[in-house]
Amino acid sequence: MSSGAAVPTPPPTTPGPHAEAGTVVLTAADISRALTRIAHEIVERNKGAHDLVLLGIPTRGVPLAARLAERLVAIEGASADAALDPQAIVGELDVTMYRDDLHRHPTRTIGATRLPASGVDGKVVVLVDDVLYSGRTIRAALDAISDLGRPRAVQLAALVDRGHRELPIRPDFVGKNLPTSTSERVSVRLAEVDGDPGDGAPADAVVIRPAAGATAAEAGA
Amino acid sequence: MSSAATTTYVLRGARPLGGEPVDLVLSGGVIAEVAAVGAASPTDAVVVDATDLVALPGLVDLHTHLREPGREDAETIESGTRAAAAGGFTAVHAMANTTPVADTAGVVEQVWRLGRDAGWVDVHPVGAVSVGLAGRQLAELGAMADSAARVRVFSDDGRCVDDPILMRRALEYVKAFDGVVAQHAQEPRLTEGAQMNEGVVSAELGLAGWPAVAEEAIIARDVLLAEHVGSRLHVCHLSTAGSVEIVRWAKGRGIDVTAEVTPHHLILTDELARGYDPTFKVNPPLRTAADVEAVREGLADGTIDIVATDHAPHAREDKDCEWAAAAFGMTGLETALSVVQQTMVDTGRMTWADVARVLSAAPARIGRIDTGERAQGRPLEVGEPANVTLVDPAARRVVDGAGQVTASTNTPFQGHDLPGAVVATFLRGRATVLDGAPVEAAEAQGVRA
């Protein structure tokens, strides 16, 4: 503004990481299978989809939560008396304002927080994120949830757990445990967020690269 | 009181008024000889290499604020007159808005005496028109005129003599001793709370506007008053195109009016207010580019008679604050000649002879200090008092307020690269500035008048 310093703008959402060196550790089919398995585990752990709320953490936790909700409805739809609406059990939880590292980065754009109409009070909330790393995002998410209500329980689902936890946090449901070094970058691409790469490669993928060249798709927390 | 200097100077190869080089010999307080280059060789003379330097008669400022008595934290008569010498001046008129106001013979004599003791330039106090500058009652103009200071210029500068009756009386009264009223033209009701020129910039900045008409209306009234009572009027620091027009009209009509413009109004515009830097807060305010062009034109064609600095030093705290709280004014003694060179000489609109007219001869004549033993503003001719300024027109310098001689730093030209430099100043044959630096009192001990 007055200083002439630019207000940081969100980076483009097209990642193009496939053009860079990297190892695909999960393909689209792997991701789909992992999500299906997690959905079954959630149902098993909670003895059904009753009272479940899936909250995706932006950016890529949101479509993952939506995909999980669809699978839950598909699994439970056969047995449940009342047909579940995936929209009714999924929401998104922006944790930006609860982060403890705001001072370490340029100003972050605040995302939306949207809860299902039923709210979170007395529910079992499953937090959904793409990559679990230091655990700080989840710490922020737990604070954010407590400002929104009092769930009966909070569980955590992550597509990838890359280790290096800095807080006593562990996931309840994991798509893939991925041993990494801290210098490596783990990128998750999802069609809903990152679009079609347009070169015939599948939209969905998890890629691991040796440091640098990271994009916005990289999940650092 | 004779100011006979003991040293004889030969200014070798100086160019009087920018003309052909000559040797100027200064001896016994007067210009003793004007000779061909190398021809002058008096014994025991100090030879100053003045090759390529322009020689001007010592500059005369009709409008200086020396701040003493009262605000010695901003400037003293000693520091202000030394700054004047550094700027090439040999005489200044010290404005009356001191504390106490210079509205009695006692105060003007004190200022005059302090100026004489300092010895850098001749200090001619300006007397207040009204008691306390309040605009109600005439000050003792006659007593000030008869005092040792022999005051001839009267002004409530900083305030306008807006009461038309008081202005008429003052114009009439000073005729008795050939005085002049120097009016600060500012209609007070039109400028209540005013902060800067009223126009596009003030509208945007939300600073209360100072319309051009507030200056022009007073000048128009005053020239008509001067005509009616047959008096002499001087218009201080006019700043607008309209003011130039009115003075031009008045002169065409034969009215005895003179006018001055400041160096800053010759070059700076109200755009500078945009950063809210109070350095650029001045009264009258900086105007538009069109006004700058008009005052240059007026100065070139003689409508405006003189350039006067309105040197207004201020203590740092009076400028280191929000705009509305800041004092009006900027320093100018040490940059005036450079600004005139840049705007008028280097642009081809004036010659160095014109510079001598507007910065020496004309102000001395208006102030009635152009005759007698201590005459100022005289031609560079044999037998005239040796008031000489040597200027290097090819020099350039970057202005730094902290490095100036004046005690204050509120120069609007901070960081500007200006042409021209004063190399030497001689007051009645005595060097007050040599090699661009004031000749300190210790060196000049015993030779001061």
């Binding site: 969100p10 100003t107 949207r114 | -």
Partner: protein, 365 residues
């Protein structure tokens, strides 16, 4: 964003970002627990040289909702008359470790001086300076306008409330706003003219010629002396989508006021020619809204019927003020200083930054 001093400094992306952030802030303010931990450990000083309980409380609420420590510094008397100089006050605040200084000052440009004189490292937010700028007021006005003049709010006049979803990312393109009253002395008008223009709106200033500044012709707006004609609209353009009434001080009419006074003959004539009353309310398009920055002079620039009509969004403006000020404080204080000093787009230097704003989307099926 280092300081917020004037809406003239805001580019369109800057402005839209503030409004979008304000929308997210507003969403948190309908919760039971309104307080966020975002600015924990940061200190916000409200430095008020003028009494303005509304603005101070709004900033104070915004800072507290973000968990900042708030210090209210009410500087009675100014360096113009008496008391401590602005510089010494600034040095004091610097020593206290202020991270942001929200300043209200009667002198135009005082926030600019605070921000640039080198006395203070804190971010400076202009909360109204003299007759210069009041940028957060303009931002809250723009935010209010955007909610009411986007999407369904505009398409179905009167039928529905504000449309926050349609407003996200939007400007005010094609909208027409009339700002009526004492433009000369109004920092609100100055801020709004530039901001609304930046956001694509067309602005008409309506005032008696005495209450328009010399130089207004260079502003990016139109000027009218006739309120009825402006409200009725012309053939090329319809009437305004919003009317913003400015406060008129009664003392301006007298011949003795500051700046010369005598701006209009008397309050009755002012009301007749420039007041928003029931009849003029009837001239407005069905979707048009009525705004006022407050405090109102009922019966002078706005009648009770207009102030209390369903079109008036005056109370909502107050609520939106908190959200907008939260957004401004967030954007000024939440990020690191270092990354933005370079002036380069910060996202380029720190890939982890700034996740894309989420948009609600239908999951792929």
């Amino acid at each position: 964003m280092r300081h917020l001093l004037s809406t003239q400094d805001l580019s369109r992306p800057d402005a839209v970002r503030i409004l979008d952030t304000a929308a997210q802030m507003a969403a948190t303010q309908s919760r039971e627990i309104k307080k966020l931990p975002t600015l924990r450990g940061r200190t916000v000083v409200n430095l008020f040289y003028e009494d303005s309980t509304r603005t101070r409380i709004s900033f104070e609420t915004a800072a507290k909702r973000l968990s900042a420590d708030v210090i209210n510094f009410s500087a009675k008397g100014s360096s113009v008359s008496k008391g401590e100089s602005l510089k010494d006050t600034a040095l004091t605040l610097q020593a206290m470790g202020a991270d942001a200084v929200v300043v209200r000052h009667q002198a135009s440009g005082a926030p600019h001086v605070l921000a640039h004189a080198g006395w203070l490292d804190a971010a400076v937010v202009n909360a109204g300076d003299g007759t210069h700028q009041h940028p957060t007021q303009a931002l809250l006005d723009a935010y209010t306008l955007r909610r009411h003049l986007s999407g369904t709010a505009l398409a179905a006049p009167g039928a529905s409330g504000p449309d926050d979803a349609a407003a996200r990312g939007a400007g005010l393109d094609g909208r027409h706003v009339a700002i009526v009253g004492d433009v000369l002395h109004s920092r609100v008008a100055r801020s709004n003219v530039h901001l609304l223009h930046t956001l694509g709106a067309r602005v008409t200033l309506v005032a008696p010629p005495t209450l328009l500044p010399v130089g207004v012709q260079t502003w990016p707006c139109e000027v009218s002396y006739d309120l009825d004609a402006t409200l009725a609209g012309d053939t090329a353009h319809g009437g305004p989508d919003a009317v913003m009434m400015l406060r008129v001080q009664r003392e301006r009419m007298s011949g003795a006021g500051a700046g010369g006074g005598a701006f209009f003959p008397n309050p009755l004539e002012y009301s007749r020619k420039y007041g928003l009353d029931a009849r003029r309310l009837g001239l407005l398009a069905e979707h048009a809204i009525v705004m006022h920055p407050g405090p109102m002079n009922r019966g002078l620039e706005i009648s009770a019927q207009a102030a209390d009509s369903p079109r008036a969004v005056i109370v909502e403006q107050v609520a939106n003020g908190v959200a907008v000020r939260m957004a401004v404080l967030y954007l000024l204080l939440a990020g690191s200083d270092e990354a933005e000093v370079a002036g380069a787009p910060a996202a380029a230097t720190a890939p982890l930054a700034a996740p894309v704003p989420t948009v609600e989307r239908v999951p792929a099926s």
